[in-house]
């Protein structure tokens, strides 16, 4: 079963994203910051990650850089979900290796459509 890793330091954001993803039928796991997310990513297999920008200990940009450097994790699709909406923020997300960018507060339909698109697509590859 394809599992989704939700990385955000706000507990209600984790709950909300979990709610939206499980509605689609995918199980989730959660982490509060980039270091914890790396620990989880190394101990389980994920088909997608939703990643916040501002988090303690390791921010979202650095987390994505670490994921893209790691041969076991580097091909996992990543949606960055951030409060920051300026062009430079979006550019930065793509430059470190995010595949998609959504702006908070999360629009439920956009997130669910995107997750369906990504996980539906990669079904054939696995």
């Amino acid at each position: 079963m394809k599992q989704v890793l939700i990385v955000d330091d706000a507990v209600t954001v984790r709950l909300y994203h979990r709610h939206l993803i499980t509605e689609l039928g995918y199980p989730t796991s959660e982490a509060e910051n980039g270091v914890e997310a790396l620990e989880k990513a190394m101990q389980a297999s994920f088909a997608l990650m939703l990643v916040d920008v501002n988090m303690p200990k390791m921010d979202g940009y650095r987390f994505i850089e670490e994921v893209r450097k790691n041969p076991d994790l580097q091909s996992i699709p990543i949606i960055m979900i951030s409060t920051e909406s300026e062009a430079k923020d979006i550019q930065k997300a793509y430059s470190v290796g995010a595949n998609f960018y959504l702006i908070k507060p999360t629009d439920p339909k956009r997130l669910q459509d995107l997750v369906t698109l990504i996980l539906g697509q990669s079904k054939q590859e696995i």
């Binding site: 330091d9 706000a10 507990v11 209600t12 954001v13 709950l15 909300y16 709610h19 920008v53 501002n54 988090m55 303690p56 200990k57 390791m58 921010d59 979202g60 940009y61 650095r62 409060t83 920051e84 908070k104 507060p105 999360t106 629009d107 439920p108």
Partner: protein, 217 residues
């Protein structure tokens, strides 16, 4: 067997004489300030670590933080600033909440969370800042700040705040800090957040948790 028998000293004998800039002895202040700009990152890191012993190194540590790109040196600078503490450190940290470097911003928040007395006088200004990102960071600081006014400050945000992400962050923190006395204010928000699904979800979760907690008596 090749487990070595105990030595009398913690340092391995082979390297005890090396490490000029990083040896057993504490170097003097002038040397450390010079080392803070050394081309070698490990020399800068060691200088930053040792400068925690000198109160008057605060401006130098901030100057270096602003040009430093190596994470291990940044961390050592932050660690020394944290142990030095004081109003000068807090003001310097607050000035860096809008750093372009997300790692710097977030470490600044972590350190400010541990300095409640020095941070408290600045909180209301930060919560009223024109930049919504700074207002979010102010709420992040409140999250762990061991200060009795934290719930009151959050309620003020609920009443005044218009930006959905700032409001969302405040509601998020009330999941932990909320008390039954806050329920009228939270319920009054219902109409304002009805059009924003995440905010509605977060508010419902916060209210639900407070109600479940208070029903227990």
């Amino acid at each position: 067997m090749a487990l070595k028998r105990v030595q009398t000293h913690v340092q391995p004998t082979s390297v005890a004489t090396a490490d000029a800039a990083q040896g057993d002895q504490a170097p003097d202040w002038q040397t450390l300030i010079a080392h803070l700009q050394d081309p070698q990152a490990h020399t800068r890191r060691w200088a930053a670590r040792e400068l925690a012993n000198f109160v008057h190194s605060v401006p130098h540590l901030f100057t270096q933080l602003d040009r430093e790109t190596d994470l291990k040196v940044q961390e050592a600078i932050f660690c020394s600033l944290q142990s030095l503490g004081g109003p000068q450190v807090v003001e310097g940290l607050i000035a860096r909440l809008n750093s372009d470097d997300a790692g710097i911003r977030n470490t600044v928040i972590e350190i400010l969370q541990t300095l409640p007395e020095e941070v408290a006088p600045h909180i209301q200004d930060l919560l009223a800042h024109t930049n919504p990102d700074i207002r979010i960071f102010a709420i992040d600081i409140l999250q762990l700040l061991a200060h009795p006014c934290a719930p009151e400050w959050l309620l003020h945000v609920l009443a005044q705040e218009q930006h959905p992400n700032v409001l969302g962050t405040a509601i998020d923190r009330l999941l932990e800090l909320g008390t039954p006395e806050m329920l009228p204010q939270l319920n009054a928000l219902q109409a304002r957040v009805a059009q924003t699904p995440y905010l509605k979800f977060a508010l419902d979760a916060a209210i639900q948790r407070i109600e479940d907690t208070s029903n227990a008596g």
